[in-house]
Amino acid sequence: MMTFTKILIANRGEIAVRIIRACKEMGINTVAVFSDADKDALHVRYADEAVNIGPALSRKSYLNIDNIIQAATETKVDAVHPGYGFLSENAAFAQACVDHNLIFIGPSAECIAASGNKSAARKTLKALGISIIPGSDDIVSSPQEAFEVAAEVGYPVILKASGGGGGRGIRIANDKDELADALAVASGEARAAFGNPDLYLEKYIEKPRHIEIQILGDHFGNYIHLGERECSIQMRYQKLIEESPSPFVDEVLRNKLGETAIQVARSIGYTNAGTMEFLVDKNKNFYFMEVNARVQVEHPVTELVTGLDIVQQQILLAQGKKLMLGQDEIRLNGWSMECRINASDPADNFMPSPGEIKNLILPSGPGVRVDTHIFNRYEISPFYDSLIGKLVVWAKDRDMAIKRMQRALSEFRIEGIKVTVPFHQRVFQDDDFIRGDFDTHFLEKFDKLA
């Protein structure tokens, strides 16, 4: 096993700060990288060294593999932590690290590539008997084929554009006639929007929950899971509120999901921390969706109920350390919830709201954790993601966690930009949300918040 003395963090914002904190507590020196827009950023101030890697535009700085590798070799670091987003799931970047004798803190380049190839992944998992959303393994080449697949998986079905994303090119059909119409429309839309008319067909899971399992894997074939995160509270496919455990998941379902997550991880030789995403229907049938081959935004809720530091675990695993804990030593204690605080205006259709922060007061007190890179007079630039912080609470049960989050949200003061705090306050007053009765469509009723 090797020991890192210096790590470069190939990221910015709250996650860069989070990783620097873990390094400091482990006695590891840190190198920050920053764009021209981030000279005064908190991660630059907190790191032991900092290297400018280019202009504000992400593809010229935070997505610039050559510049980041150069910064890493010049500062003589042992390892690179990619955070989330940017280059975190870029197999070429993971490989470039290896080629320059740098340890990439995450799964191998081959594993990242395997996780990203949806069609190949479907076939592998199907062969293993892992439950995936029933549907076509490849593009549907004719209406006749679409009708056959639909008859086999059962209506309603959903058509998805192969080149798609963000909800565009998606059509739902309840019967054969609707499917015939949907095929014509969806294919045309997909061609117009993505220059690619190819469609996949899947069974439409009604009122699903989005539930994911955090796993850890070492280089010796040992795996554990750290329970689930409930991520159904989404708007336009963006997660906004997460919690652990899920009010919907009992011990039996948790064990099944955990075992399946580990089975998937093992099948692709996954190492380090990762997340397996599932859709779970109202009858608790679950379907594997995809691997998130990185640390996730919402990792703190798992940390607060397990007592484990996931970023520290990532670093230890990358150093080649064996997993210290067995599955029977993992206990979920209490309840944790997270609100993503975005610089966007809930009263104006979540319009981005960059600008200078004034009169900032962050919530604190018992059971409250704020992961953020913002401070008074800090300028939120328009170049990067709108996530400006995560408000996370822990309490001994869900009711107490809700009350604590309501209290913490009420303490949040910020001027100069619009943030999503008022939106979260509304959700945390909603009866269905408080009862834990929701699915991925929950926020549609809030979408037109005026």
């Binding site: 504000a56 535009l57 610089a343 966007s344 319009m351 981005p352 709201s353 960059p354 600008g355 328009p382 170049f383 990067y384 993601d385 709108s386």
Partner: protein, 83 residues
């Protein structure tokens, strides 16, 4: 006949793009006739892309910002002349 002009303005601080995707040709050029509600440029702010459309039909007379340049909220971007 009197010529009238208006400008397309940025609704948010962000980055100005003349094309709808990297490598594609610009959505409009100077001298081009546009119809009302045609997309004339894109603004990216915090990874969110917003299509900006022409309010009224007319001819593009000026493009006031270079491609990929930062713009402020309410900044003039494209001038269009109504006949």
């Amino acid at each position: 006949m009197e010529l009238k002009r208006y400008t397309v303005r940025s609704p948010v601080m962000g980055t100005f793009y003349r094309a709808s995707a990297p490598g594609e040709k610009p959505l409009v050029e100077v001298g081009q006739l546009v119809n009302a509600s045609d997309v004339v440029c894109m603004i990216e702010s915090m990874k969110i892309f917003t299509e900006l459309r022409a309010d009224q039909a007319g001819v593009v007379t000026k493009i006031l910002v270079e491609d990929e340049e930062p713009v402020m909220k309410n900044q003039d971007l494209i001038e269009i002349e109504i006949e």
